[in-house]
C-alpha cells in the first residue's frame, strides 16, 4: 500500500513538473449516502501524494483549490461508511458526486427499516430516523419519534412518560446509547422514560436485537443509538433553532444549537432545549396534572486532527412530569371504581401547574474520549463517561411530608472503555474492554421504605466482532462478548416477608442486623453473561438483498426484579421481586429480505426464544389497613416472541409517494401458551406524501388493532358499601382505533446561508376518543385529542 502511495506521489509530482501546467484548478464535489443520497457531513477526502485533505461541510460538499492538471487518487472516508478509493483525472475545474456505502457495522442495523417523511424512495429501507423527521418531533420525546419505525412501539404512562418497545420488549431489555454513552437512567422501571433530549441527535438508529456487541451484550430487545451532529474540520459557524407550538397542552418548545469549528480541527458546540406544557386534553376532558417542564443543555468541545482527536462533553437533562391525578389510587376498592368509570374521577380546569403525583428527573453526563489511528494497526479509542441520575417521585402525601418525595434515588455510574478497530479492506474487526462501576443511593429521608436498595455494582466486559467480505455480494459477520457483573447490596426486608419467602432458612448468612420488624441483609449476587452474534448479508441481484442474523444474549436481572418488595403506588399494587433470579437468555433469529427502487419493500420476520424470561404476574390479593391490594410477583418462565415487520413503498410519480408499514407480533409463555402481557397489538400505517419544490404535504393513517391475546389477571374485590363482589378488570384491552394525521411543510431561504421551514401538523385529525393498550393509564382516561402543531425551523 505504501509503495503504491509512493508511486502515486512520485507520479503526480512527475506529472506536475513535466507539464508544469496550470496549478489553479478547482475540484469540488459532494459526498452522499449510497442508500438515500443524503449528504454525508464530515466525510474526509484525502488526495494521495500531495498532502491535501479536507472534510465535507453540512451540505456534504468539499472543495480543493490550486490543483494541477493530472491524475489523482482520492481516498474518501466517513466514520459510518466503507472507505472508498477513486481515481480522477483533472484537466479543468471539475465537480463530482461520490457515493459511500454504509460500513459493515450496519449489517446489524439494516434489518430495521423506516419510511420516514422523506420523499425519496431510496430511503424506504433505512432503519434510522433522520434529522428532518427528528426536527418534527422536537417538542416531543425520543419514544414519540422512534415509534414511527416498524416494529417499534412505546409503553406509555400518560403521554409524557414514553418508553420505547422494540419487538415487544422494553425497559432493561432495551439499551439507549446517547452520544456514545450507554444510558444508566434507571431504565428498569416501566414508568421511567429515557432521559434523553432528542434534539441532541442528528440521527437515531434502532437495532432490533442484541447484535451490536460493541455497545452491550444484554439488550435482549434491542438498542437505540442517537448520533450527534458531525462537525466539519474547517472554519465555520452554524446552528439551528426550532420552535414548536402545540395546541394540546397549550405549550411549546425551543431548541437552539450553535457550533463553531476551526480549520485546525478545534470545535465547540452549545445546545439548549426548553419545553413547557400544561395539562393535555383528551377529546372530552382535561387530563388533569399531565403537564411537563423540561430543560436541557449540552456543552461539547473537541479537537479532530483526522488521525487523532479528543472530545469532551457535558450534558444536563431535567424533566418534571405530572402524572394523571386520577391515576393515583388507594387499594383495589378505589381501583374498581376508577376503572368502571368512563371518565377520570378527577377533572380540573386547565393549568400549567404540575402537582403531585409527579416525577422530577435529572440526568447528567460527562464524557471524555480520545482516539488515535496507527497505520497498519488500527484506531485506538479510549472513553471515560460519568453519569449521575437523580429520580424524585412525589406522591400525594399528608402533613409535613407533603413536599417530600416518596422516591429519591441517586444512581452514579462510571464507565471506562477502550476499543481497537481496524478496516483491512475485505476484513475488519473491532475489539474492546469495558469496566463499569455503579452505585445507587436511596435517600432514607423520604420516610418511605426504599423501593430500590443501596447497592454497588461492578461490571467487566470484553468483546470481539469481525466481518469478512467473501465476495462482492456476500458479507459475513461474527462477534462475541463476555460480561461479568457483581453486586454488593444492602437491603432491608420486612421480617414478615423474609420469613414468608423462606429466605430465613435459605439465606441466613445474608442477615447483617435485625431492626424491629425489618431485617438488614447483604446479598452479593454475581452474573457471568455471554453474548454472541453470527450473520450474513447477500446481494441477490441489483436491488434485492437478504440479511440474516443470529444473536445470543444474556441479561442479568435488574435491582427491581431482584429486590422489589412493597407497594408500588403508581400501579396500585404490591410488587415482589426474587433474590434467586438468574440471567435471562435470549436467542433471536432476524431475517430480512429487501428490494429497493421505485417499488420497494422489506419483510423482516423474527423469532426470539427466551429462557428465564422475567415476567410479573398477579398471585393474589393482600389485605392491609389501606384495604386490599393485588400482589404481583416476578417469576422466570420460558417464553417465545415472534412476528414480522413489513415496509412497503411506491413512488407513484415524481411528486407522489405512498408507503405502508405493518407490524405483527405474538408472545407466549412456552410452557403453557399463556399470552405475555403488554405485547403490542398488530398495527399498520399508510402514508401518502406529495412534494413539489419547497412544498410538501402528507396524510398519514394509523390503525391499531385490538389486542386479542392477553393474560387474564382480573380479580374480585368485595365492596362493603354495596355489599357486592366486583371484578377489577385490569386485563381487557381497549378497542381498535384509527387515527389520521395531516402535515404541510414549506422551506425557504431567509437570508443568505439561512434556511427556514414552517410546518403545520394536525395530529388525531378527527379528534377520536381512544385508549391505547400500551398506555398504563388507559384504565382511567382516554388518550390525547386533536393537536395542532406548528413547527418553525431556522438553520443558519
Amino acid at each position: 500500500m505504501r509503495i503504491l502511495l509512493l508511486a502515486i506521489f512520485v507520479a503526480s509530482n512527475f506529472v506536475c513538473t513535466v507539464y508544469s501546467q496550470d496549478c489553479n484548478l478547482k475540484f469540488t464535489g459532494t459526498i452522499r449516502d449510497f442508500h438515500d443520497s443524503s449528504p454525508l457531513i464530515g466525510a474526509t477526502i484525502v488526495i494521495a501524494g500531495i498532502d491535501a485533505a479536507t472534510q465535507t461541510d453540512l451540505d456534504g460538499t468539499f472543495e480543493f483549490n490550486s490543483l494541477c492538471e493530472g491524475d489523482y487518487n482520492l481516498q474518501i472516508s466517513h466514520p459510518e461508511c466503507k472507505t472508498k478509493v477513486v481515481s480522477i483525472s483533472i484537466s479543468d475545474d471539475d465537480e463530482k458526486t461520490f457515493y459511500l456505502e454504509h460500513h459493515i457495522d450496519s449489517l446489524n442495523e439494516i434489518v430495521l427499516s423506516a419510511k420516514a417523511y422523506t420523499t425519496k424512495t431510496e430511503t424506504v429501507l433505512e432503519n434510522t430516523i433522520d434529522r428532518d423527521m427528528l426536527e418534527n418531533y422536537s417538542g416531543q420525546s425520543l419514544g414519540d419519534a422512534i415509534r414511527n419505525l416498524s416494529g417499534v412501539t412505546t409503553l406509555n404512562t400518560g403521554n409524557t412518560v414514553v418508553k420505547p418497545v422494540i419487538n415487544g420488549l422494553h425497559s432493561s431489555r432495551v439499551s439507549t446509547i446517547n452520544n456514545g454513552v450507554r444510558m444508566q437512567d434507571q431504565e428498569w422501571g416501566v414508568e421511567h422514560s429515557p432521559n434523553v433530549d432528542l434534539n441532541t441527535a442528528s440521527r437515531i438508529t434502532v437495532i432490533k436485537g442484541a447484535s451490536a456487541l460493541q455497545y452491550t451484550g444484554d439488550a435482549i430487545g434491542g438498542i437505540i443509538v442517537t448520533e450527534p451532529v458531525r462537525i466539519p474540520i474547517k472554519d465555520s459557524l452554524f446552528g439551528r433553532s426550532i420552535f414548536t407550538f402545540s395546541s394540546n397542552g397549550k405549550g411549546g418548545s425551543n431548541t437552539t444549537s450553535l457550533i463553531k469549528s476551526f480549520e485546525s480541527g478545534w470545535n465547540a458546540q452549545i445546545q439548549g432545549t426548553f419545553k413547557r406544557f400544561g395539562d393535555f386534553e383528551s377529546p372530552d376532558y382535561v387530563l388533569s396534572n399531565t403537564g411537563n417542564f423540561e430543560r436541557d443543555f449540552l456543552l461539547k468541545s473537541g479537537l479532530n486532527r483526522i488521525n487523532w482527536g479528543v472530545d469532551i462533553l457535558y450534558s444536563y437533562f431535567k424533566n418534571e412530569v405530572g402524572i394523571l391525578r386520577a391515576s393515583h389510587l388507594g387499594g383495589a376498592e378505589d381501583q374498581v371504581i376508577a376503572i368502571n368509570s368512563d371518565r377520570p374521577l378527577i377533572i380540573e380546569d386547565f393549568t400549567y401547574e404540575i402537582d403531585q403525583p409527579r416525577q422530577e428527573v435529572t440526568h447528567q453526563i460527562g464524557k471524555v474520549n480520545v482516539f488515535k489511528k496507527y497505520e497498519g494497526f488500527g484506531t485506538v479509542k479510549f472513553q471515560y463517561d460519568f453519569q449521575l441520575n437523580n429520580r424524585l417521585e412525589f406522591d400525594v402525601r399528608r402533613g409535613d411530608n407533603r413536599d417530600t418525595p416518596s422516591v429519591d434515588l441517586e444512581l452514579t455510574t462510571h464507565n471506562f472503555q477502550m476499543d481497537l478497530e481496524e478496516d483491512k479492506g475485505n476484513f475488519s474487526f473491532k475489539t474492546g474492554l469495558a469496566f463499569n462501576y455503579q452505585t445507587n443511593f436511596a435517600n432514607p429521608d423520604t420516610g418511605v421504605r426504599r423501593l430500590i436498595p443501596d447497592y454497588d455494582q461492578y461490571k467487566l466486559g470484553g468483546f470481539f466482532i469481525a466481518d469478512y467480505q467473501f465476495s462482492d455480494r456476500l458479507i459475513g459477520e461474527a462477534g462475541i462478548r463476555f460480561d461479568h457483573t457483581s453486586m454488593d447490596v444492602l437491603k432491608f426486608y420486612r421480617t414478615s416477608f423474609w420469613e414468608s419467602r423462606n429466605y430465613d432458612e435459605l439465606f441466613p448468612e445474608l442477615v447483617v442486623e435485625e431492626f424491629g420488624n425489618q431485617i438488614l441483609t447483604n446479598p452479593k449476587p454475581s452474573f457471568n453473561n455471554v453474548a454472541a452474534t453470527l450473520g450474513a448479508s447477500y446481494n441477490l441481484k441489483d436491488d434485492w438483498w437478504i440479511f440474516s442474523n443470529l444473536a445470543l444474549s444474556q441479561r442479568a436481572p435488574n435491582p427491581s426484579e431482584l429486590f422489589s418488595e412493597g407497594l408500588h403506588h403508581s400501579a396500585s399494587r404490591i410488587e415482589l421481586g426474587d433474590l434467586r433470579f438468574s440471567s435471562e437468555i435470549s436467542k433471536k433469529v432476524l431475517l430480512a429480505i429487501q428490494k429497493k427502487g421505485n417499488l420497494s419493500f422489506s419483510v423482516q420476520p423474527f423469532y426470539n426464544h427466551l429462557d428465564n424470561f422475567i415476567i410479573i404476574e398477579p398471585t393474589g390479593v393482600q389485605q392491609t389497613v389501606r384495604g386490599n391490594f393485588q400482589v404481583w410477583e416476578y417469576r422466570q418462565v420460558p417464553a417465545a416472541i415472534f412476528g414480522v415487520d413489513v415496509d412497503f413503498g411506491y413512488k407513484i410519480s415524481e411528486t407522489l409517494d405512498f408507503s405502508h408499514q405493518f407490524s405483527f407480533l405474538k408472545g407466549y409463555e412456552r410452557s403453557n401458551s399463556t399470552p405475555l402481557i403488554n405485547m403490542p397489538p398488530v398495527n399498520l400505517y399508510n402514508t401518502l406524501a406529495y412534494t413539489k419544490e419547497s412544498w410538501s404535504f402528507s396524510v398519514k393513517q394509523q390503525y391499531v388493532f385490538r389486542q386479542n391475546e392477553f393474560p387474564n389477571n382480573n380479580f374480585e374485590v368485595f365492596l362493603p358499601e354495596t355489599e357486592t363482589f366486583e371484578t377489577v378488570d385490569v386485563s381487557t384491552p381497549p378497542d381498535a382505533y384509527n387515527l389520521f394525521e395531516i402535515a404541510g411543510n414549506y422551506t425557504f431561504v431567509l437570508f443568505e446561508k439561512t434556511k427556514a421551514a414552517i410546518g403545520i401538523q394536525v395530529q388525531n385529525l378527527f379528534n377520536q376518543s381512544y385508549r391505547n393498550y400500551l398506555n398504563r393509564l388507559r384504565y382511567y382516561a382516554d388518550d390525547l385529542g386533536r393537536n395542532f402543531l406548528i413547527t418553525t425551523k431556522i438553520n443558519f
Partner: protein, 185 residues
C-alpha cells in the same frame, strides 16, 4: 498527546475514588412515616358503662401479614354511643398519633362509617372541618334491634367535600379501609 492521556486517566481515577467513598454509610432502616398500622374505634355508651373497642392492627404494613382485627364485645340494643377513632403508626416508638394530622388537615379528610345493611347501627358525624363539612374523627352511633353484620370504616384523603355521604360521590384516595364483624344484643 501522552500528557492528555495521563491527565484524563488521573482525572477519571480520582473521580472513581470520590464516588466510591460514600459506600456503606446511612444504612439505617426507614420507618414508614405516614403508614397507618392501627385503627382503634372506641364506642362509649351514653350514660356510662363498658366501652366497645374495635381494633385493626397491621404492623408489617404492606407486608404479607394481614391485619389483626379484634372486637372487645357486643353492642347493646337500643343504645346510643359516643365514638372516637384513632389512627396510629405503631412502627414508630412511641407510636405516632396520625389522628392529629387528620384533624389538622380536616378539609382534606373524611371518615366514612358504612354498616352492612343487616346491622342495625347508624352513625352521625360529631365534628366538622373549618368549612362546616363533616370530618368524622368524632361521631355518635345508635344501635337498634339485635342483629349481626359488619362495619366498614374508610378514611379518604382529598375527597370531594361536601359530598352525599357515599364513597362513590366522595372520590379521593383510600388511606384506611378496615372491616369489623359486629353483633348487637
Amino acid at each position: 498527546m501522552k500528557k492528555s492521556y495521563i491527565s484524563i486517566l488521573l482525572f477519571t481515577i480520582a473521580g472513581l475514588f470520590v464516588a466510591c467513598s460514600n459506600d456503606d454509610d446511612s444504612t439505617e432502616p426507614v420507618n414508614e412515616e405516614e403508614i397507618i398500622t392501627t385503627v382503634i374505634l372506641t364506642f362509649t355508651p351514653d350514660g356510662g358503662g363498658t366501652a366497645v373497642v374495635l381494633t385493626s392492627r397491621d404492623l408489617d404494613g404492606d407486608g404479607p401479614n394481614a391485619p389483626v382485627v379484634t372486637v372487645s364485645g357486643d353492642f347493646a340494643a337500643n343504645t346510643n354511643y359516643n365514638g372516637t377513632v384513632q389512627f396510629l403508626n405503631e412502627t414508630e416508638n412511641p407510636a405516632e398519633d396520625i389522628t392529629v394530622e387528620v384533624n389538622a388537615e380536616a378539609e382534606e379528610h373524611q371518615v366514612f362509617y358504612i354498616p352492612s345493611t343487616n346491622l342495625n347501627l347508624s352513625f352521625q358525624y360529631e365534628n366538622v372541618d373549618s368549612n362546616g363539612n363533616p370530618l368524622g374523627t368524632l361521631f355518635s352511633a345508635m344501635a337498634g334491634a339485635a342483629s349481626t353484620g359488619s362495619l366498614n370504616l374508610v378514611l379518604r384523603h382529598e375527597p370531594k367535600k361536601p359530598n352525599d355521604g357515599t364513597l362513590g360521590d366522595a372520590g379521593g384516595e383510600t388511606d384506611v379501609s378496615v372491616n369489623f364483624p359486629l353483633t348487637i344484643q
